[in-house]
Symmetry: C2
């Protein structure tokens, strides 16, 4: 899997409702050459994440989400984080063979100046330390996904041993990390997921105390009540929407709720999700809700990465990847992910590493 032409996936049109494969277009072209101070990166893995859907919203609507972020225009390369290998360099600090993680987008080859690629307001470029784990893990537990899980849980939810932690999208890339960390921290962990296979996996393989398939549960609030007989102290919210409605009445006094994803609200105009207002429960329980963005804690990432890598080495923490081969299949995999296809971290294997090629 080494290519002598570049391939890019660009936004062909703004989706109506859920993204479809023909909202994307493949574009072939020459491999770019680095100028002075630049280097060329060959993408090894592309990370598929729900937030990418947000970037596919029309400009006016996206502005409700973020007044400042760079907007994805029609015909532009899709935003996304990758792990890649430096294959040509005119930059003093990066040499051929170096591995990096950065938001270089949906393409086989990309240029970087090493200062943090600003394709979509990336918060920088991460040098990969190969001894801590495989390259792909730097898009999962050792990367932004893992950091989102770690800091959203530890800084916003602040779970204490014995407390009940609920996580939604529990078999997804972030949720599986959250639940495992919460178990390591001595909590009772209940996962909400969208299939029996996912529930099975988080309970049997990851050791969650309980799991709920929200798609086959007629009364999610009642099911959560049974799974959380002592109420809910921490909610790590990857979905918003109707699942959040079901969690609200079960909050304990001084509960902490990290808002980390709102995948259930992306199919409506931004901010126009209608359901239960949380105010009465927030007041009655003196509870806290907080939106969380991972790079707020960037300075503490290195220590967290070492901690998770240590747990992985000790076998206390499992990584799972859902890998599709070939960048040309990324649109289909992305559409499938939004419909709940994947268990674990959703990755596209774009190229092989040089040594392994």
């Amino acid at each position: 899997m080494l290519h002598n032409r570049n391939l890019q996936v660009v936004l062909a049109r703004y989706p109506e409702g859920q993204p479809r494969e023909d909202d994307f277009r493949l574009v072939e072209g020459p491999i770019p050459s680095p100028g002075p101070g630049q280097f060329l990166v060959r993408t090894l893995y592309l990370s598929l994440d729900p937030w990418i859907w947000l970037r596919m919203k029309p400009v006016a609507e996206y502005r409700r989400w973020s007044p400042r972020n760079k907007v994805l225009g029609l015909g532009e390369v899709m935003h996304g984080a990758v792990v890649g290998e430096v294959v040509e360099s005119r930059h003093p600090d990066f040499k051929v063979g170096d591995l990096i993680e950065s938001k270089l987008g949906w393409q086989r080859y990309a240029l970087s100046d090493g200062a943090g690629d600003r394709l979509n307001n990336a918060d920088g470029l991460t040098r990969i330390a190969p001894d801590l784990g495989p390259a792909s893990a730097w898009l999962g537990p050792l990367g932004r996904t893992g950091m989102t899980a770690y800091f959203g849980l530890m800084k916003v939810c602040q779970p204490k041993p014995g407390e009940t932690v609920v996580v939604s999208s529990a078999a997804g890339a972030t949720g599986m990390v959250v639940g495992q960390i919460a178990k390591i921290k001595g909590c009772r962990v209940v996962g909400i997921a969208g299939s029996d296979a996912k529930v099975d996996w988080i309970v049997r393989d990851l050791g969650f105390d309980a799991g709920i398939n929200y798609r086959t549960t007629s009364d999610l609030e009642a099911a959560l009540g049974r799974a959380c007989p002592g109420g809910i102290d921490c909610y790590y919210d990857c979905t918003g929407g109707p699942i959040a409605d079901a969690v609200l009445p079960l909050l304990n006094d001084r509960a902490r709720w990290a808002v980390v994803g709102v995948i259930a609200e992306y199919d409506r105009p931004i901010g126009d999700s209608l359901g239960r207002r949380p105010y009465t429960m927030l007041l009655a329980r003196r509870a806290r809700m907080e939106g969380f963005v991972v790079h707020d804690w960037a300075r503490e990432h290195p220590a967290a990465i070492r901690e998770i890598a240590q747990w992985m080495r000790e076998g206390r923490f499992k990584n799972r990847e859902y890998i599709t081969d070939g960048l040309e299949n990324a649109p289909r995999a992305f559409v499938g992910m939004l419909q709940g296809d994947n268990i674990g971290k959703n990755l596209i294997r774009v190229s092989s590493q040089s040594g392994a090629a």
Copy 2:
């Protein structure tokens, strides 16, 4: 206004929707006598507060609000905070003439053991220091109301000079304190209230930068946008409900939202208020919402009371009271308050102080 019989207002039935006068009943009886370790309090002022409505919910429903609080049964004395005077004492630490504030309920006379009256899970009894302000102010800016305003604003909202603070029920007992403190702290302050007279008062007399009458504004979100051209950094929320829906889209990055009252949600089953879900905006703005209860900060109350008293003496802070004479008129005044009758702190003058009798 000294009475030789006790008068109590009791709950006659659980209201359907908004409370009405005939949900209450007046009961006359003898004045009780203190036993050993007790003292008799004559009520000077009764505080009417929106939370009392909550206590009028049927038990099963009230349990959704609070699993532990004492519930108000039919025929029981209505809950409420009073300022009163010790008129008879068999307690070593309280002598005739002492002034206290406590949740002794809607009655002319009550017994206390001085340890914090547990009629409705009161968080204690406060001795009034008459030199800091008039007795009635201990139900307003110097009392729980003022502390709710002070700590909700300073600890949850944490406003910085130059930031925009929005407060709802702005001409009410809590809102008027919040807005004035925020002005003292150098913020731009926008108040939302329910009549032109209220808006007039907070802008002209209290110095708010802008006010909005939500009852006559066809598009509250647009009106707020015009009043807050730089967005909203802090929201002190006394209402929840549709006003909260209008505030949400205007939050700035890292906005702080104190949930202090949900008066707009009391007329529905607890927790069943339907409207905009906040999750997408909380995440997009990395914003925080937090339910707040005043006695969480009880140890810091004395310093805050001295600070507000100082502002009152210096004329930087105005108190306003909406006083109705006679405990027998409390039901009507309470019903009127929930319909928005009052400007300022809603009080019932129950008896005169001995010296002034």
